[in-house]
């Protein structure tokens, strides 16, 4: 088994309370299913949509990231899967895909050479 990070980007807001609750329940059900199948190493955390951006040798600190809403990472999960193909397949169940969001699937680099 190898480790992968799911990075959740975007996801449309501004929907009705009922739809938002449904989306949330889908997330809970999805995490539960992944967990039961032994794919969750660490469920991860949600991230605030804003913070600080520290840059360059001058270490300038600005408010940020000012990316477009669809590009902002809203959270991450550490996943265990056989290979990248399986990890990508698992990500297809993510409810964020139904609300114009995306999942970035990235292998955690292995230390053995």
């Amino acid at each position: 088994m190898s480790e992968y990070v799911f990075l959740y980007r975007g996801g449309e807001a501004g929907r009705s309370p009922e739809k938002m609750q449904q989306t949330m329940q889908k997330w809970m059900a999805w995490f539960k299913e992944l967990g039961q199948k032994g794919h969750i190493k660490d469920q991860g955390q949600p991230l605030e949509r804003s913070g600080k951006l520290v840059k360059g040798t001058k270490k300038t600190v600005t408010d940020g990231p000012f990316a477009e809403a669809k590009d902002i990472i809203g959270g991450y999960t550490l996943i265990e899967a056989r290979d990248l193909e399986q990890a990508a397949e698992l990500s297809k169940g993510c409810p964020i895909l139904e609300v114009e969001g995306s999942v970035e699937v990235r292998p955690v680099m292995k230390l053995n050479m």
């Binding site: 807001a13 009705s16 009922e18 739809k19 329940q25 997330w27 809970m28 949600p46 809203g74 959270g75």
Partner: protein, 421 residues
């Protein structure tokens, strides 16, 4: 743990009501933004860390903290509720004031205040119902539009115009003024009645949507019963009527999802708990001299709920109740129902006679059930050709697949009878 069904929707109304009380009615849009924010946060946090112990309290606390942020940040940029005066201006009084306004008992009053505010006399009845559904029941404009089978654009216009009227009224309705409260209560009751009716008889083909509307109306009318000033006989009558009708909802659709005509319903599927509750409320509604249309309609529903079928229904009593209803609140639909009851009591010819006698039946011409009633009595009188024509007229006006399918079956029954004879 899963959050309870419709939690967000129900909390939306409570939060908007509480926030509008603080921000002032002219900042309704700001209150809606803060609520939206609170839901976004809940969605982000709960999905990773599961639902908190007390989800309502979590949402309310999030809305409260956001409100404090907004009030601090935009202290000089906006004016807030004039009723609260300078309490929000000083840091010394801001937090305790907001804390107090978010107490559970205060929020119950906020919801009531908002309900009365939505039923503003300058807002049309239809728009009042839409506004209640949108603001207090958390339906998006799109969801209100589909519940009322209206276009999204038309509904957006109706709701935004109504919100404009609400915002220009400067402050929320004062529920502490008994005379004003009594004066506007009938409009509030009427709006809840219409909301329930839209669910019970409405055009939406989606049963789940319709059942939701009935439930929302029942949830709001229960709030009227909890306040001593609004728990009038009419409120009890209205509550009784809703319970007794809602009791029959499970019987209206059979096991395969088809619309069942009233007298062919499996009455064992009616909800006996709701019938008992309706009866209790109806008895409670009988204090004081006031007899409203809600009392009479509840009594009619009660008579049906306590009969085992068409044969042992007390038709003479139902006809006399419809006579009373015609005296209190005459309408073509009441006249139609009265004519049907007369026909049940005295036979199809009498029913047809009464149906034809309805003075303003041109107003019923676009109502499918008027034609269906004519068809039914012609059919019972053995005039199957005429009956089929009426059912076809009804079919042309049918509003959803279930109605269409039901009427097609009636047409086939009539045509079958013609060929067999």
């Amino acid at each position: 743990m899963e959050p309870s069904e419709h939690l967000f929707r129900h909390e939306a109304g409570r939060m908007v009501a509480a926030l509008t009380r603080i921000f002032g009615v002219h900042n309704l849009a700001l209150a809606e933004d803060v609520v939206q924010d609170a839901f976004c946060r809940a969605l982000e946090v709960w999905k990773f860390r599961s639902t908190p112990e007390n989800p309502s309290a979590w949402l309310m606390a999030t809305a409260k903290n956001r409100a404090l942020d907004v009030l601090r940040r935009e202290r000089t940029a906006r004016t807030y509720a004039p009723e609260l005066g300078r309490l929000l201006e000083s840091e010394w009084t801001l937090a305790p004031t907001v804390e107090e306004l978010f107490a559970a008992s205060a929020i119950e009053d906020d919801v009531l205040r908002m309900m009365f505010s939505c039923c503003h006399p300058r807002v049309s009845e239809e728009a009042q119902v839409a506004l209640v559904l949108h603001i207090l029941c958390g339906f998006s404009v799109g969801e209100v539009a589909s519940a009322f089978m209206s276009s999204q654009a038309a509904m957006a216009k109706r709701i935004s115009r109504a919100k404009g009227t609400l915002a220009s009224s400067k402050k929320l309705f004062d529920i502490a003024a008994p005379r004003d409260l009594a004066a506007r209560l009938p409009a509030v009751q009427r709006a809840l009645y219409l909301l329930f009716n839209e669910g019970y008889h409405g055009a939406s083909p989606e049963l789940a949507v319709r059942a939701d509307l009935c439930q929302e109306a029942m949830r709001l009318v229960a709030l009227l019963r909890e306040n001593s000033l609004t728990a009038t006989p009419a409120t009890y009558g209205l509550s009784a009527l809703m319970c007794l009708h809602a009791a029959r909802l499970p019987g209206r659709i059979d096991a395969v999802g088809e619309l069942r005509p009233f007298f062919e319903q499996d009455r064992s599927r009616w909800d006996r708990t709701l019938v008992a509750e309706g009866q209790r409320l109806l008895e409670h509604s009988a204090f004081g001299p006031e007899l409203t249309e809600y009392h009479v309609e509840a009594a009619i529903a009660w008579a049906h709920a306590n009969a085992h079928g068409a044969e042992d229904t007390d038709w003479p009593m139902i006809v006399s109740l419809y006579d009373k209803l015609m005296a209190i609140r005459p309408s073509p639909v009441v006249a139609l129902n009265r004519a049907i009851a007369m026909g049940q009591n005295e036979g199809p010819l009498r029913g047809l006679q009464e149906l034809h006698a309805i003075s303003n039946s041109e107003r019923l011409a676009s109502y499918p059930f008027y034609h269906a009633a004519l068809g039914e009595f012609e059919h019972r009188d053995g005039k199957n050709d005429a009956a089929a024509e009426h059912f076809k007229a009804a079919l042309a006006l049918a509003r959803n697949p279930a109605e269409r399918h039901f009427l097609e079956q009636r047409i086939r029954a009539c045509e079958g009878a013609v060929h067999a004879g």
